[in-house]
Symmetry: C2
Subunit: 412 residues, 2 copies
């Protein structure tokens, strides 16, 4: 009888696994042009330069009266200056007249400063008196005026290639009149379900089989992070099938093999990775998630060298889920330029938890106000996922969390 | 001359504005059926019940040997029990034989427990010896066996209507073999650019006009939060035009009028809201963002009563942006069931900031390691958005943040 159950080789620490995967992460070089309304969350692939001054003309910063500052110098609460109002300019209009000595033009916020005027008096410091306006406060040249090009000058680099486009930065691009922008492609994540016992939801469940879960959790996590996710058909645990599936998923940036719960399945993946490229590690001092395998394949795509990271994820749903958050999510965030980490909050552990020394351990928890309750049952349990709001991590050198102790909960 | 510049009426506090908008927020009642691969981030509109037991059969939790527990009771490191291996079962296979006294079946993680066996011995506690296996550790009935239905029983409600589908919960649904699920519709956000001075990017900029920014920041924020966003053409600041635009955007859940930087424009919006529905507030003790207007319109849609919240946002881009984060984003999150707040981190203020007593003030900041630098120039400045990573808030009763003081930075 063949014994397919080879034990693990040297396990590496979680920190080591994170370092290795980050170092081997491919860079995205593909670019595409997209409409700025679709550009939120994408990474700029080119510098954005101003084609014109912003603002394109000197404009009023307030509602009020455009004046010659020196006409107002003596003004005060009990000694207002009286100016003749010769025109009224709304935003978007071009003033027709020039402000001369003793004159003012009523002006709206954002409207163009008329010729002759060099300041604006806020409406709060004035009072209408027939065809004139009383000014109760002196202004100085330039007061409440946004000068032409004061904000951005023509030719200035406003945003740099590589920046991630927040809504604010999308707005900055639109302020320059630009409608399309070149961005880097989304990270391409391929999810390949493996395992002879796995059946796609919607199909009939034969005896001895279970429904595929990991494809759906992995795809949902990657999509939430802005990746371009492709899911592949369920692949049997045979070397040639796994190899063909990986080849069909190239040139993805990251391939996630979602099955592989038994030692035999892991060994198949390790063998295929060794043949196609290089095994980076095989087994992590992590619970759950010990069986995670990682390798890299270097190929060619469009005439360029292209590295693909391949993960053999643990087969158990909870293990696969927490491993995806701990190991894979930071890689996708790196590729999208997203420095926004997951939400982490301090909660009080409602129950004593015993961990394993020498093994970084992850427990799913359910959060209720200030308390974190263990949601973890066993690696195979689906309900530990249904009830979990997030997870806590217990480092390898800690074996116990007392009831009432504060823990950091990372939210899903 | 008409004086369009009416002053503000009573300003309300930011807390009051938040309370009023939250209380008037419509509930989403529309539902749709979607594929579970697309369901991440959506809110369940129905309870999810298990149609079958999970696991659907008793299965092995480890790689090892399925045995009759009582056969192993005497086993020890120096007194192994020898059992005859009669079969090998991989995951997805159905065992053919029954385990009888003195027998074992080699079994992979997740594989079906054969008839006759009531426990699994981990491979680590065994040694192959020809056609037999030596067992070095006793097991008890049920050890390393996940019983049929142990996780979820047929008919059990696994997820409840109203829950937001995290990747973990999407996985739970797939474990039940379900491929489509009923969810509530996405929040419908309409963005209507207003203002006679505003020009759509891509068009030629006439004298006295500026490019539209707020439509792009508002749409990007709402889309990032999972809303179904529609943008409308630029609408002039006239009552009849604004009214027609609002009517065309119904039955959105929230309508954002993105212009309105001057008192006159705000008054037009207030008048239209008073005619079509009810003005909830007009002016907030907030800087920037004082001119924000909010109202509600109650109409009918598909035979049902339908409330729409309408915001007249401040016209200045930075004011509009920070107001959207502070006032509108929490409403969209409420509608999507997203309790994940924005990332907030403590940073050290690199410079003294003077605020205004009696006014809740928001400053954009640029973050560099542990330091927060002011990115704020003036409300109209685009560069204060280009360089900003987030914002800090200074409450109405604080007028000064000293250099070196710790502040909470909310990241964009």
């Amino acid at each position: 009888m063949e014994n397919r159950m080879r034990p693990f080789r040297a396990l590496i620490s979680l920190e080591e696994a994170k370092r290795i995967t980050m170092e081997n992460l491919p860079e995205i070089t593909e670019t595409e042009s997209i409409a700025i309304l679709d550009a939120g969350g994408r990474r700029l692939a080119e510098d954005v330069k101003a084609q014109a001054d912003v603002p394109p003309y000197s404009r009023s910063a307030v509602d009020g009266y455009a004046v010659r500052a020196k006409d107002t110098y003596g003004a005060g609460r009990y000694s207002p200056v009286k100016l003749k109002v010769i025109e009224s300019v709304h935003a978007g209009e071009v003033p027709e007249k020039t402000v001369k000595k003793g004159e003012a033009i009523q002006i709206a916020t954002g409207a163009m400063i008329p010729d002759g005027a060099d300041a604006v008096v806020m409406v709060e410091n004035t009072e209408i008196r027939g065809e004139s306006v009383l000014v109760f406060k002196p202004s100085y040249p330039g007061s409440d005026v946004s000068g032409k090009g004061e904000d951005i000058k023509t030719g200035e680099v406003v945003l740099k290639a590589g920046e991630r486009l927040s809504p604010a930065k999308v707005g900055v691009i639109s302020s320059l009149g630009i409608t399309e922008i070149k961005v880097f492609g989304r990270p391409r994540i391929a999810v390949i379900p493996t395992g002879d016992e796995v059946t796609a939801p919607g199909e009939e469940l034969e005896k001895g089989k279970i429904y595929d879960i990991n494809t759906y959790t992995l795809s949902s996590i990657a999509r939430e992070l802005g990746a371009d996710v492709r899911t592949y058909p369920i692949t049997p645990d045979r070397k040639e099938d796994i190899r063909t599936a990986i080849e069909s998923a190239l040139p993805a940036d990251i391939i996630l093999l979602s099955g592989g719960s038994s030692v035999g399945e892991r060994d198949v993946i390790v063998d295929v990775l060794a043949e196609m490229g290089e095994v980076l590690f095989h087994g992590i001092q992590l619970k759950p998630g010990k069986p995670t395998v990682c390798g890299r394949i270097t190929g060619e795509h469009g005439g360029k060298r292209k590295v693909t990271l391949v993960f053999g994820m643990p087969g158990y749903p909870t293990s696969c889920l927490t491993n995806a958050y701990v190991l894979v999510a930071p890689l996708i965030r790196k590729l999208t330029g997203d420095c926004n980490p997951l939400r982490v909050e301090k909660k009080r552990m409602s129950q004593r938890i015993v961990s394993t020394l020498g093994r970084h351990q992850i427990f799913t928890v359910r959060v209720e106000e200030d308390a974190a309750h263990p949601a973890f049952k066993e690696s195979g349990a689906i309900t530990s996922m249904a009830n979990a709001d997030g997870y806590i991590q217990i480092p390898a050198n800690v074996d116990l969390v007392e009831k009432g102790e504060m823990v950091d909960v990372t939210f899903f």
